[in-house]
């Protein structure tokens, strides 16, 4: 079912996803891949395309690509090589890109997605490795080039044209991102540009087997953008076809602000890349034992982690789903749990409600969350062992968020430990009853809600420090006697 709402055409979508690999150094030279450095400070003769410079392959980039392939169910090519893709552009230091043409590292594979309750496997055609291009920056009368990014290892994952709607496309992208972050091969952060996506979209009438004319869409930089661009294209192409026009095979540019696609000026008048084998690099023939060893040591897949959270920690499916959605959050959860292993549900609740809430409010990811997993665990432990009550715990949480510090220290410094001393609570309970005779009377007459009010009074009088469970029990006992 396509999203154009017209239901008249069948949509076929393929995605080409480029993922920057999480290596320390670039694909073919020792320059740093650190994001955000001042322009042109991570450069050398190789990634600047100086005369006489030569590429040398980054071993880890190969490993991470193979691991990605294994995580995605691909076959690893026993013999693989690199090729030159020749075209001219300012972001190209050599005016050819070293990539893989006919013998990529990985072939086949697939990603399971779920859209509208329906599970589906999206096929992967191939995964290959190449070098990223530099960054072009645009000013009024000139453009500038920053070569920091030139040469960063880039993994290209090409899907089969199995996607049939914008919803499936974004689901695929999210599933892919989840698996790759689980694999630890990339941060897959679209905003930082370490995951980029090009889409192909064509429409055809039902009953036709031949695919319609394929339009390529570039400049998709967010997951929302994938959906938006494809939804727009579906409508645009459907309208054109309805009006009897032919779809031009072209590359179009997604504009996130205008929310439309427009025709791009082509980089090359003729797309003749003149591929030939890269003479400066030797082929890659990984020994079967090496690939087997990597396969045996693969990180857990998201699905497996979800299932383990249920089986190992007794968490409900829902919790497992939420916690395992992002590897970094799942890691955080388990790091906290290592400190207080006996309280998985409590940790789960805290992470799902409080931690994720803050992440959403502050639009940050867990990497930037101010409270370390171990520190959160300490706080949860104080609440679980009833040193502090749940309200106090939330207050301490807020304090830790903005001011840092350890839960234990804060509780001590501010004397926030809840009072569980029977005599002390008795005093306050008596005081609350004395000051609120009407409520006491209401409770004796069967109004349950009056009890809540009285508990509230006890808390107020004790400046929040009374153990609320004890206070409740004592009130009930006292009032029952009355």
């Amino acid at each position: 079912m396509n999203g154009s709402g017209m239901g008249k055409y069948l949509t076929t979508i393929g995605l080409e996803v480029h993922v920057q690999l999480k290596t320390q150094s670039k694909m073919f030279c020792g320059c740093s891949t650190d994001f955000g450095a001042p322009p042109n400070t991570h450069v050398c003769p190789v990634c600047l395309g100086y005369p006489g410079a030569l590429p040398v392959m980054n071993r880890d980039a190969i490993r991470l690509t193979v691991i990605s392939g294994l995580m995605l169910g691909c076959r690893i090519n026993p013999y693989s090589k690199f090729d030159r893709k020749n075209y001219f552009y300012p972001d190209m230091p050599k005016n050819y890109q070293i990539t893989q043409y006919d013998l990529p590292l990985c072939l086949g594979g697939g990603v399971e997605i779920e859209v509208g309750g329906r599970a589906k496997t999206i096929g992967i055609t191939r995964i290959h490795l190449e070098e990223d291009v530099a960054k072009n920056l645009h000013y009024a009368t000139w453009s500038g080039v920053d070569f920091n990014r030139a040469g960063v290892p880039l993994m290209e994952i090409v899907s089969e044209p199995d996607l049939e709607s914008p919803e499936e496309a974004s689901a695929y992208l999210l599933a892919l991102r989840q698996i790759l972050t689980y694999a630890g091969v990339s941060d897959c952060n679209l905003e930082e540009g370490n995951m980029r996506c090009d889409a192909n979209c064509s429409l055809r009438l039902p009953g036709r087997t031949a695919l319609g004319t394929k339009v390529e869409i570039k400049n998709i930089n967010t997951v929302k953008g994938v959906h938006g661009a494809l939804a727009y294209e579906e409508i645009r192409q459907a309208r054109a076809l309805d009006a009897g026009q032919t779809i031009i095979q072209e590359t179009r540019r997604w504009d996130a602000d205008q929310e439309n696609t427009s025709s791009m000026r082509t980089k090359e008048d003729a797309h003749d890349y003149r591929y030939f084998p890269e003479p400066d690099l030797m082929p890659v023939a990984l020994p079967a034992e090496q690939v087997a060893a990597w396969k045996a040591a693969l990180p857990e897949l998201p699905k497996a982690r979800r299932e383990r959270f249920v089986a190992q920690y007794g968490l409900p499916e829902y919790d497992a789903q939420v916690l395992a959605a992002e590897r970094a959050v799942a890691d955080y959860f388990e790091a906290a749990l290592r400190v207080i292993p006996r309280a998985p549900k409590a940790v789960s609740n805290w992470v799902m409600t409080d931690v994720l809430r803050v992440l959403s409010e502050r639009t940050i990811d867990i990497g930037r969350f101010p409270i370390a997993a171990e520190a959160l665990a300490e706080l949860i432990d104080l609440a679980e062992t009833k040193v502090i009550n749940s309200n106090t715990a939330r207050d301490v949480f807020a304090l830790m968020l903005d001011g840092g510090g350890r839960a234990g220290d804060i509780v001590k410094a501010r004397g926030l430990a809840q009072v569980s001393d029977t005599a002390a609570i008795e005093k306050v309970v008596d005081q609350a009853i004395a000051e609120n005779a009407k409520s006491a009377e209401d409770y004796r007459n069967g109004k349950a809600v009056a009890l809540k009010f009285l508990v509230g009074q006890v808390m107020r009088l004790s400046k929040g420090k009374a153990n609320p469970q004890m206070a409740t029990e004592m009130l009930v006992a006292r009032l029952g006697k009355g």
Binding site: G52, V56, M57, R84, Y89, K94, F276, D280, M282
Partner: protein, 486 residues
């Protein structure tokens, strides 16, 4: 101190080690010779006198303090295609004017580590494309033996300055004969090592699967020493062979007992100048006298070598020269409206005719519709040429042949006919295609007093026997002692 400029590497080292002279003395003497001679030879693009003298003085200081580099204080001239830190690296092209190398080529760094002094950058065909050094954007180098004749190419400048005693030794590069052929035309020694024997890091690439740096010297012994220092695995060059480097000096035995020399019948079918063929045959007799056994071998795919070479070399070059676009270094055209316009203008203005021709040809043979018919097919023919040599080397230890079908010819003679120029590469290009090693040693003079070179070929990593044959022949033949009338 005079006469130092006429010495070779080993002789200079002997004098330096015996404290009979200083490195500064040698450099000064060379500068004197250059001052007297280079005006009529034009072998050097730049000399860098002050810098060379400073290096020489540093070498002298080091020697006084007990340093023992294998080339300590020996001046070496460098073909303008090699990156030497702090020096311009122009490849004799306008498009690279202004570019100063921020790094040393590995081969240069290894020579430097042994104390070598770098004096001067020598003229060449632009981007190493040519066989006469007439394609330099700046000047034509003249053959010291006859100033009206070409010195050969593309390392014509290096060959000329060594032959004219304007240098003690020089570095060249060889993609299709560019070290061996000018060595032959100028009467010096020129060695192209096996592909991957010397690192290409820092050698401006012409054809990546064919290029090698090579020493150009006054004796085989000097070439062996330079090879020894430069050769070996380099982590900066993935195509550099990991094989250990043998002791090349140990190969320099003065006889050829037990050596089988192959004569490829396809190289002696009468297409060469009779005086060239006469000199080669005389050299072969000398080798026989030294104990070598002469055997007949066949290289049946020889007729296809030039075509194969010019498809593969230009294809790789078209990609290797794409980086020259005026953005990151070199010269840039003005008035461009967009980047593509910038590239087109910069490359139109910056490249000479031969470079443009080869880029166009290389782009063509890779282009859609032609890739299989030309590039892919040429790579297959290359396999056949390689197999020819593997087969031949089962019957012999080294192959002897001419270097070029003619001696040096007059400047301008082959100007308008590039194909004619290419056909002269018939004996040199197969060596690069097969990845094997080859050396030219002087073996005679024509009646018009132009040098002829004997080419000695060995299998991949077979430099030992090639050096042995070259050294033994050289000592017996004596042609390397001849000097041009200057």
């Amino acid at each position: 101190m005079s006469g130092l400029h006429t010495l070779g590497v080993h002789e200079v080292l002997e004098r330096l080690n015996r404290r009979e002279c200083s490195s500064e003395d040698v450099v000064r003497d060379l500068l004197g010779a250059i001052g007297r001679i280079d005006g009529t030879i034009d072998g050097y693009l730049s000399v860098g006198a002050e810098d060379a003298l400073a290096q020489a003085r540093a070498a002298d200081d080091a020697r006084r303090q007990g340093a023992t580099g294998r080339l300590l204080g020996v001046p070496i001239a460098v073909k303008d295609v090699l990156n030497v830190k702090g020096q311009p690296c122009g490849c004799a092209s306008r498009i690279l004017q202004g570019y100063v190398s921020p790094y040393d080529a590995t081969a240069v760094a290894r020579l430097r580590a042994e104390g070598a002094v770098f004096l001067g950058r020598t003229n060449m065909d632009e981007f190493a494309m040519g066989s006469s050094t007439e394609n330099s954007a700046f000047k034509v180098t003249r053959n010291p033996w006859n100033r009206d004749c070409v010195p050969g190419g593309s390392s014509g400048g290096s060959a000329a300055v060594v032959a004219a005693d304007e240098a003690i030794a020089a570095l060249g590069s060889d993609t299709g004969g560019s070290v061996r052929q000018p060595a032959s035309f100028c009467g010096c020694v020129g060695l192209k090592p096996s592909y991957g024997r010397i690192s290409r890091y820092g050698l401006t690439a012409f054809a990546s699967s064919l290029d090698q740096i090579g020493p150009m010297t006054k004796s085989v012994r000097d070439a062996a020493l330079l090879l020894q220092v430069m050769a070996g695995h380099d982590p900066h060059d993935s195509s550099c062979l990991p094989d250990p480097v043998p002791d090349y000096a140990a190969s320099l035995v003065p006889d050829l007992k037990g050596i089988r020399l192959g004569l490829p019948r396809e190289y002696f079918v009468g297409g060469s100048d009779p005086e060239v063929e006469r000199a080669i045959r005389a050299a072969i007799e000398v080798c026989r006298g030294l104990g070598a056994q002469i055997v007949d071998v066949s290289l049946p795919h020889t007729p296809y070598a030039i075509a194969t070479y010019y498809v593969i070399a230009t294809a790789e070059a078209s990609a290797n020269l794409a980086r020259f676009d005026g953005v990151r270094y070199g010269t840039r055209a003005t008035g461009a409206e967009d980047p593509i316009d910038l590239y087109k203008r910069t490359r139109e203005q910056g490249f000479g005719a031969e470079v443009k021709r080869r880029i166009i040809l290389g782009t063509y043979v890779l282009s859609s519709g032609y890739h299989d018919a030309y590039y892919l097919r040429a790579q297959k023919v290359r396999t056949l040429i390689r197999r020819d040599f593997e087969q031949a080397f089962r019957a012999c230890d080294a192959i002897v042949a001419p270097v070029a079908p003619t001696p040096a010819y007059p400047i301008g003679e082959k100007g308008g006919d590039p194909l004619q120029m290419y056909l002269g590469d018939i004996f040199t290009v197969p060596v690069n295609l097969a990845g094997i090693c080859g050396m030219s040693v002087p073996c005679g003079l024509t009646t018009r007093q132009l040098p002829v070179g004997l080419q000695i070929l060995g299998p991949a990593l077979g430099e030992g026997n090639v050096l042995r044959v070259g050294h033994a022949y050289e000592q017996a033949g004596g042609w390397n002692k001849r000097r041009p009338p200057l």
